[in-house]
Amino acid sequence: MTSHLSPQESVNALDDVLPQSRQSHLDACRSCQTGVAELRAMMATVSDVEDVPEPSPLFWDHFQARVQTAVQAEMVHPAPAPWWAMIVSVRGAMAAVATVIVAAVALTLYPADPVAPVEDAQVAVADEAMALETAEWAFVSGMMDTFEQDDVREVLAPSPLAVDAAFEVLTSDERAAFAKLLAAGMAEGME
């Protein structure tokens, strides 16, 4: 028994150009006959659909005039380059301009002795950061004064279930290593 018709062969069967050897298979195979018949029916369904309404007769004259105008506009003002070409050229030009500006600014700001002004700037920035840190630290320590120690301990303490859950996900090797660490820790505590 030969194989069933491939998609290409099924289309050849639709077009009545199937080679004789495959036509023999089609003649004998109910499944392939059904497949080709379904394709033929679907093609007829599509063909039967009235597809393009005819535009008004005036449309064609108008269309020719539109094409003529568009073509003339194209000759006078050719379409711009593709967007990516524009981006590449704009980016290249911008990069060149930016390089020149940065070089000019750098030469103006740091002409002869670049070390001293940089140190001055670093000191100024550090002073400003210290002032900020002092204010923030005062705020945090003020807040801490309002907390009760027991409340903090309760919030920060892990639940027993969390410890069990963490232990559950360890492999046997990890559990063995963990047991060794515990034993070592306990031994240190005993000493």
Binding site: P7, Q8, S10, V11, N12, E38, L39, M42, M43, T45, V46, S47, D48, V49, E50, D51, V52, P53, P55, F59, W60, F63, Q64, R66, V67, Q68, A70, V71, E74
Partner: protein, 191 residues
């Protein structure tokens, strides 16, 4: 008898000239030759575009775009296929770009519901119209290459070789596309 391509464009009867003669005349500088190309192929190009977008406004814009591209690109036309096939290729590319950039098609309401009340059997006409709407909607849901293959094969009645030339790829792949287009259409219409 073959026409003399080298004859000056002004001495040719452009309206009766073969496409290749018109192309040669256009490349030699005859704008009238291009006008004849537009007149000769505008209906077919418009119909291809309409089948993809299913509304007059977009179809006429796309058809105009096809001829503007043709005007710019005819110098690259090698003449190894018919001019109509080359124009279809430009048109299909324009249409595939267009439908890739927008939401899936919806049937325009007026076109979908228009039934001629003077027809002999209005009930049959309504049923036929609804069936046509279903089929068009299903075609619009096909993947773009399957859709293009189906439209070019069924409505433009192009050969699989011509469709392969338009869409790119082998004749075998085009046949497989056509098979899958019909199979998917059947599935979509049954669902």
């Amino acid at each position: 008898m073959a026409q003399d391509v080298t004859a000056p464009a002004t001495t040719l009867d452009l309206a009766a000239a073969e496409d290749r003669v018109l192309v040669a005349a256009f490349l030699a500088g005859s704008q009238d030759a291009f006008q004849v190309i537009v007149t000769r192929h505008q209906r077919a190009v418009y119909q291809v575009c309409y089948r993809f977008v299913r509304n007059h406004e977009d179809a006429s814009d796309l058809a105009q775009d096809v001829f503007v591209r043709a005007f710019k690109g005819l110098k690259n036309f090698k003449g190894d296929s018919a001019l109509s096939t080359w124009l279809y290729r430009v048109g299909v590319n324009c249409c595939l770009n267009k439908i890739a950039a927008r939401r899936p098609d919806t049937e325009p309401l007026l076109e979908a519901r228009h039934v001629d009340p003077r027809s002999d059997d209005p009930f049959r006409a309504v049923a036929r119209s609804e069936k046509a709407t279903e089929v068009r909607r299903a075609i619009a849901q096909l993947p773009p290459r399957q859709r293009a293959t189906l439209l070019l094969r069924v409505y433009q009645e192009l050969s699989h070789e011509e469709i392969a030339g338009i869409l790119g790829g082998t004749v075998g792949a085009t046949k497989a596309n056509f098979f899958h287009a019909l199979s998917n259409l059947k599935r979509l219409l049954q669902s």
